[in-house]
């Protein structure tokens, strides 16, 4: 199962896993040094299990974990390096700070190989580095705020001089104000550390904002990986689209190539329709879908424009009615229904002057940038995860990423 026997230059992380018990965990991923990889997926997707495999807390049934030129785990060769010898920095979801030790004591745990005075100097250095002021160094975790505890946990991970930094939902217990500071800290670390960093999160905005590379997991499988932009614009299937929070996902029938080369015809099928009267869009054709095949397709919300009136005869313009307009601070979240496609709902955010007059019942025109339409094979949503794992793995590997 490995073609990656060659060592990774510059400390990159590469992982291949094939496990069915005690829980399924399958897929392959790679994270270059100095790159931040965000692992996203619903609860129970196997994100935390994957972290445990990477840190050596869990031994996979079959798999291989390589960081730089060090093989940490290779079940075919019987190699398994215990966590003590891996030099992984792991920030636990609830930080797992030792309640009986102060901040300095917690960081010192990673530095036990040093003599006592040197250890304290180093611990102080790391605590200062993550921005924890001196007077907090002698406080126990219970006397620190969530954000401060997290900084201690990060300092403890960094003091380990890690070759791989793992962050398990590190921001979930921190309020929005502290988050901004921690995002900045993470961005700084990314610049200075030059090691692979893996971040588990269920916050997609956070993942897209911070990550160079996104890995989408579900039911223990790596479904897709690539740049956040790439995955948002071209999810592999409807399940991935749902998991990364794409709201404008529709059903359709692929009609085959259009007259213009590289273009194809997509019939937009609404709920309960047989489809003959439904509108047809001209979209990019990648030549992967046979004509007549039922498909899912998506359009990013920034490829949907509100227009005053429907353009005469333009096939990308539709009449729409505002179903709901929710004003959230500076933006408005609008849901539109289209008389031409029963059951279809377009969701988009609107800001600025365009928000005026947007209220339920209002009628307006909408234009789709059909070049941004992405067509996916129709998979029953639940069955998507039971796909043949080998194909899934290969596909996941072949997904291009922006780097």
């Amino acid at each position: 199962m490995n073609d990656g026997t060659a060592p990774n230059p510059c400390g990159a992380l590469s992982v291949e896993l094939e496990q069915t018990l005690p829980m399924p965990l399958q897929g392959a991923l790679r994270c270059e040094a100095g790159e931040l990889l965000a692992l996203v997926g619903p609860s129970g997707a196997g994100k935390t299990s994957l972290m445990r495999v990477l840190s050596g807390l869990m031994r996979p049934q079959r798999g291989r974990v390589v960081v730089g030129d060090e093989v940490w785990c290779d079940t075919t060769q019987g190699i398994f390096v215990p966590p003590q010898q891996r030099h992984v920095g792991l920030v636990f979801q609830n930080y797992a700070l030792m309640p009986h030790l102060d901040a300095l004591g917690n960081v010192s745990l990673s530095l036990l190989h040093l003599p006592r005075t040197e250890r304290l100097t180093q611990a102080r250095h790391w605590l200062n580095h993550v921005g924890l002021t001196e007077e907090l160094h002698t406080r126990r975790p219970a006397a620190l705020s969530g954000g401060q505890q997290q900084r201690v946990a990060v300092a403890r991970a960094l003091a380990r001089e890690p070759k791989l930094l793992l962050l398990d939902e590190p921001f979930s217990a921190v309020d929005q104000m502290n988050r901004q500071g921690l995002y900045r800290l993470l961005a700084d670390l990314l610049r200075e550390l030059a090691i692979p960093i893996v971040l588990v999160t269920h916050d997609l905005n956070e993942a897209s904002m911070l990550a160079d590379r996104l890995v989408v997991m579900d039911a223990g499988q790596v479904l897709q990986q690539g740049s956040p932009e790439n995955i948002h614009n071209a999810p592999r299937n409807a399940r991935v689209a749902d998991l990364v929070g794409i709201r404008n996902r529709f059903e359709g029938v692929w009609l085959g190539p259009a007259d213009v080369a590289g273009q194809g015809l997509l019939r937009w099928v609404g709920a309960g329709e047989t489809g003959t009267a439904a509108p047809v869009l001209t979209v990019r054709d990648k030549g992967k879908v046979p004509p007549g095949q039922a498909v899912h397709w998506i359009i990013p919300s920034d490829a949907i424009f509100l227009v005053e009136a429907r353009g005469q005869g333009s096939p990308t313009d539709f009449e729409a009615a505002v179903n709901e307009a929710r004003h959230l601070g500076d933006i408005t979240l609008v849901t539109l229904t289209l008389p031409a496609v029963p059951g279809a709902r377009l969701v988009l955010t609107v800001s600025g002057a365009r928000r005026q007059g947007l209220a339920a019942g209002a009628r307006l025109g909408v234009r789709l940038d059909s070049s941004r339409v992405h067509v996916m094979p129709l998979l029953p949503l639940k069955a998507a995860v039971h796909d043949d794992s080998a194909t899934m793995r290969v596909c996941a590997l072949q997904t291009p990423h922006s780097k």
């Binding site: 840190s55 050596g56 807390l57 215990p82 966590p83 003590q84 010898q85 891996r86 030099h87 992984v88 920095g89 792991l90 636990f92 609830n94 797992a96 700070l97 030792m98 309640p99 009986h100 745990l109 990673s110 036990l112 190989h113 126990r140 975790p141 219970a142 403890r156 380990r160």
Partner: protein, 221 residues
């Protein structure tokens, strides 16, 4: 006041605790973390001395340690030591009798430590031994301390097992609880009262102090 009996009881309690502590710590910690099949049965055996009448336990210990039994005969032949009606025999009986008093609180104390802390220690590079000394034991310490006090005080007051295994030989096996019993039997109620009161006050102070210390030592999380 039978000072000889009091000193003997204190010696017995101290030796019992010293002998039982290392193994009890190990067993309690192991029971806290293990998922081995039959764990419930092992726990049941550990608790058994707590629920059996002391005379039953004492009877079995007497029979198994006596010179007629294989164990008793082997100890007698190999080391030239008689276990029944000697201080050493009392120590063995006392250790067995106190297993639940030490192991159970220790087990609860280790169970209360979140598993993640040991994992965090491992990832930080701590060996199992370092994790035990620097993370687990400091966090379990209040529980371990109360287990020690409980074992010590319980040994001071034990009666049935001691009587069965040790009899009442002054300076060898006559503990304070047996001395109190003897005084009552011989209608020396003043003497019995003195010693009973001493035992009562000492036990109350020891247990009270251990609870106070546990509360102070328990780390806020």
């Amino acid at each position: 006041m039978d000072w000889q009996a009091l000193i003997l009881s204190l010696e017995l309690a101290a030796v019992t605790l010293l002998v039982l502590l290392p193994g009890g710590l190990w067993l309690g910690r192991w029971l806290a973390y293990t998922h081995v099949a039959g764990k419930s049965w092992i726990e049941a055996i550990v608790v058994l001395p707590l629920v059996l009448p002391p005379t039953v336990l004492g009877y079995y210990l007497l029979v198994s340690m006596g010179a007629a039994s294989p164990i008793g005969a082997w100890v007698q032949q190999s080391f030239g030591i008689q276990l029944t009606f000697t201080f050493l025999g009392l120590v063995v009986a006392s250790v067995v009798f106190n297993i639940p008093f030490l192991v159970q609180p220790v087990q609860r104390a280790f169970e209360a430590i979140p598993r993640q802390l040991s994992e965090a220690a491992a990832v930080s590079g701590l060996s199992a031994w370092q994790t035990f000394w620097r993370v687990e034991l400091p966090l379990a310490w209040p529980g371990v301390l109360s287990a020690c006090v409980l074992t010590f005080v319980h040994t001071l007051g034990e009666f049935g097992v001691v009587l069965m295994v040790g009899g009442s030989i002054p300076g060898e096996t006559k503990t304070i609880a047996i001395s109190i019993y003897d005084r009552v039997q011989s209608f020396d109620l003043t003497g019995a009262n003195q010693m009973a009161l001493l035992l009562l006050v000492f036990s109350l102070l020891a247990v009270g102090a251990s609870f106070f210390a546990s509360a102070r030592l328990t780390v806020r999380r």
